[in-house]
């Protein structure tokens, strides 16, 4: 029995730290971040960074000095990046285990995933407010406004999918349902939901047009103004991981998850690159919108789309 327990522990630790956990997420996230940067550069007529640039950035930040502002509450200020990283890694594991079809006890409870995906934004807000910088405070207030506007359409869209898959709130059930009756994006409700969720993850990744929380030319770096050295590196790493986790979530919800058997590997890679391409295109063909406009966009239009998607889902389209 004891030996069995140890094997189980080792398996969980392996899943948490190496595959599909921290290490795997960081490496793939870093590479996807390179894809994003390279594509952006090509759109700009620039050459773009080398493949390992995201990792060079992290290494450089890890040897830089970490400064804590005098009037910051140091513990909260330094703890929040670690919290955000942990939450993003756990959410990544919970999404990837069902998405990669790895057998485990966890079947992908959507509610847990939704909560965990909100943690990075919340911790950023807390960290920004703890830093005591007026620019960070402005950034934090924007992030709060953004958070409360995009969470509702996010939930509603997922609700539409839950209705489609016979009221099951487990991710593996959603993927199994898609394997039987075709991917959700192929239906009207799914297509509408896909548009909404792409906008939401654009905001969750704080990319243009929804990057007002760290609008460079207005409030320097907004919520992350005061961070430096290793904490800043952790924040960057969280962004890399989210850049992999959120598209994976979308793929699990709408495109039938990943499949790594035979030629399907190519299809899986194509799916994730396609989502990254969409994100990059949106962020390169739009200016930053104002926070008021963003709230209006999510509260009115995206909620409307999401509600429509629910109605269609109930009707069975």
């Amino acid at each position: 029995m004891g030996g069995d327990h140890k094997v189980k522990m080792a398996k969980v630790l392996f899943q948490f730290l190496i595959f599909p956990g921290f290490l795997f997420l960081s490496v793939v996230g870093g590479i996807l971040s390179w894809v994003d940067r390279k594509l952006t550069a090509r759109v700009h007529f620039r050459k773009g960074p080398p493949l390992l640039q995201p990792f060079y950035d992290l290494i450089k930040l890890s040897v830089k000095e970490t400064t804590v502002p005098e009037n910051a509450s140091a513990r909260v200020f330094l703890a929040t990046p670690i919290l955000a990283l942990t939450a993003s890694v756990i959410s990544g594991i919970l999404i990837l285990l069902p998405a990669l079809n790895i057998s485990s006890g966890f079947r992908g409870d959507l509610l847990v995933i939704i909560y965990l995906l909100a943690v990075p934004a919340v911790t950023t807000i807390i960290g920004a407010l703890a830093s005591g910088n007026p620019l960070s405070a402005v950034g934090a207030s924007r992030e709060i406004k953004l958070l409360i506007s995009y969470e509702l359409p996010f939930l509603l869209t997922i609700l539409a999918l839950v209705i489609r898959s016979d009221m099951s709130i487990s991710l593996s059930d959603l993927i199994a349902k898609q394997a039987v009756s075709g991917v959700f994006i192929g239906s009207f409700s799914g297509a509408l939901g896909f548009i909404v969720i792409m906008m939401v993850i654009q905001a969750k990744l704080s990319l243009v047009p929804f990057d007002m929380a760290e609008a460079e030319t207005e409030i320097i770096a907004g919520v992350i103004t005061e961070y430096s050295g290793i904490p800043l590196g952790l924040i960057k790493l969280t962004r890399f991981i989210l850049l992999f986790v959120l598209p994976s979530f979308v793929i699990s919800l709408f495109l039938g998850g990943f499949d790594f058997t035979g030629w399907n590997i190519l299809g899986s890679i194509l799916k994730i690159v396609l989502i990254i391409l969409l994100i990059t295109l949106v962020r390169n063909t739009n200016p930053r919108v104002k926070i008021k406009a963003a709230m209006k966009f999510f509260f009115i239009w995206m909620n409307l789309f999401a509600l429509l998607s629910i109605i269609l889902a109930i009707m069975g389209y």
Binding site: H44, F45, P134, R142, T217, E218, I219, K290, I291
Partner: protein, 404 residues
């Protein structure tokens, strides 16, 4: 939220400004209640240095006031010196070359602004594209003057280097290639609904505001005031070519962008006409051999990309100016923030501050007086302004008495 005002600093070093400059935004939440401008990070004492240099050296000096409008200041200064010395027989070829340089500079400066404005609203694609299209202009500069910036072309009585007639077809080719790119950029900026939502109806300056602050250049023209020295008081070759003053009525950020974008098309047309003029004059002289500048006082203007730049030069028969006064257009344009920034959000204020295309190194003059030994500030900028107002009032009183 507390009712206390929060100060959001833009500066002294900030990604919004390419130069050190300090704006304090007193905010209530996202809304900016008032803005305080602190200048003085860029003061270099050009006027005083210029008074100790010869005219030729002085031209090189004023060229270095600003890297972007580095032909506007020498242009205005040669106009001023020629006015002071009553030098009127400038060769036609020199006039054309001066005009070409002035207009090329307008194009590259406006493209630079469009790119930066794109960057300020987070649209980095526009930023990169506009700066890419700016490159051929800098190449023309390098071809004709030898430098991408700081051209060193102006001298009292003419220009230093000729634009060879053999080079003209190549310049025309570059301009031909530039035109579709400019049209593409204009289309991309003017038709984008998201850009509209960010720029339309924001930072509105009415005609009255413009008159009150004496704003100049595209800032004034975007509010429907067709002020342009090139038309109002033509110099160089501006009365020998056909062009029109671009204006817009709205006075918001979008109108300012539109005016600048459309002005570039006009500039291309002016350059083409000047190049044709050059071809007609064959290879004439490009300067007059000037022995000395007679004593006198003169003013010179040039419509720089940001508005009218004004130089006053007093000569005394020697080879250096006795008094040299410079006033750049940004000095009039920047204070319009008092009218356009109040009760706007921080995002808008950042854009509005940038919309007048401020150039701080052009603007900054004497700002505060320190005691050398104790390092204590004796006179601040506001004190000096007060002092100058008092003096003006005194002079006005005296003049009124004389009138009676």
């Amino acid at each position: 939220m507390s009712n206390k005002e929060v100060v959001v600093p833009i500066g002294p070093y900030h990604p919004l400004q390419e130069e050190p400059e300090f704006f304090k935004l007193y905010c209530d939440g996202e809304v900016v209640k008032r803005v305080v401008w602190e200048a003085g990070y860029n003061h270099r004492g050009h006027e005083k240095i210029s008074e100790g240099k010869s005219f030729d050296q002085s031209l090189f000096l004023v060229e270095r006031i600003c890297g972007i409008c580095s032909c506007s200041h020498p242009f205005a200064m040669v106009n001023a010196v020629e006015d002071a010395g009553n030098i009127t027989n400038i060769p036609v070829r020199a006039k054309y070359i001066r005009t070409i340089l002035g207009e090329l500079e307008r194009i590259h400066s406006h493209l630079l602004w469009v790119g930066l404005a794109g960057h300020f609203i987070g649209y980095n694609t526009v930023f990169m594209w506009a700066w890419k299209y700016r490159e051929p202009i800098l190449d023309i500069f390098e071809m004709t003057c030898g430098n991408r910036n700081h051209y060193g072309m102006f001298k009292v009585g003419g220009v230093r280097r000729d634009i060879e007639n053999d080079d003209i077809p190549e310049i025309l080719k570059v301009l031909d290639k530039l035109k579709p790119k400019l049209n593409l950029l204009i289309g991309a900026v003017m038709d984008d609904p998201v850009i509209h939502s960010r720029t339309k109806g924001i930072g509105i300056l009415t005609k009255e505001d413009i008159r009150e602050f004496h704003a100049l250049g595209p800032t004034a023209r975007a509010s429907g005031i067709p002020i342009d020295v090139r038309k109002d008081d033509p110099y160089a070759a501006y009365n020998m070519v056909k062009w029109k003053v671009i204006t817009a009525e709205e006075g918001d950020v979008f109108a300012k962008a539109a005016v600048r974008l459309l002005e570039m098309i006009e500039s291309v047309s002016i350059i083409e006409q000047c190049l044709n003029g050059l071809q007609k004059t064959k290879n004439g002289p490009i300067d007059i051999k000037l022995k000395e500048v007679p004593a006198g006082e003169g003013v010179g203007h040039h419509e720089a990309p940001r508005g009218e730049v004004f130089h006053f030069v007093k000569t005394n028969g020697t080879n250096s100016p006795e008094r040299h006064k410079i006033r750049a257009p940004s000095l009039m344009n920047i204070p319009t923030f008092r009218r356009s920034c109040t009760n706007q959000t921080i995002s808008d204020v950042a854009l509005i501050l940038a919309a007048v295309d401020p150039c701080y190194c052009c603007t900054e003059r004497l700002l505060s007086v320190y005691d050398w030994e104790s390092g204590k500030r004796e006179w601040t900028f506001n004190d000096l302004v007060k002092l100058s107002h008092e003096k003006t009032r005194k002079i006005m009183k005296r003049l009124k008495k004389q009138d009676v």
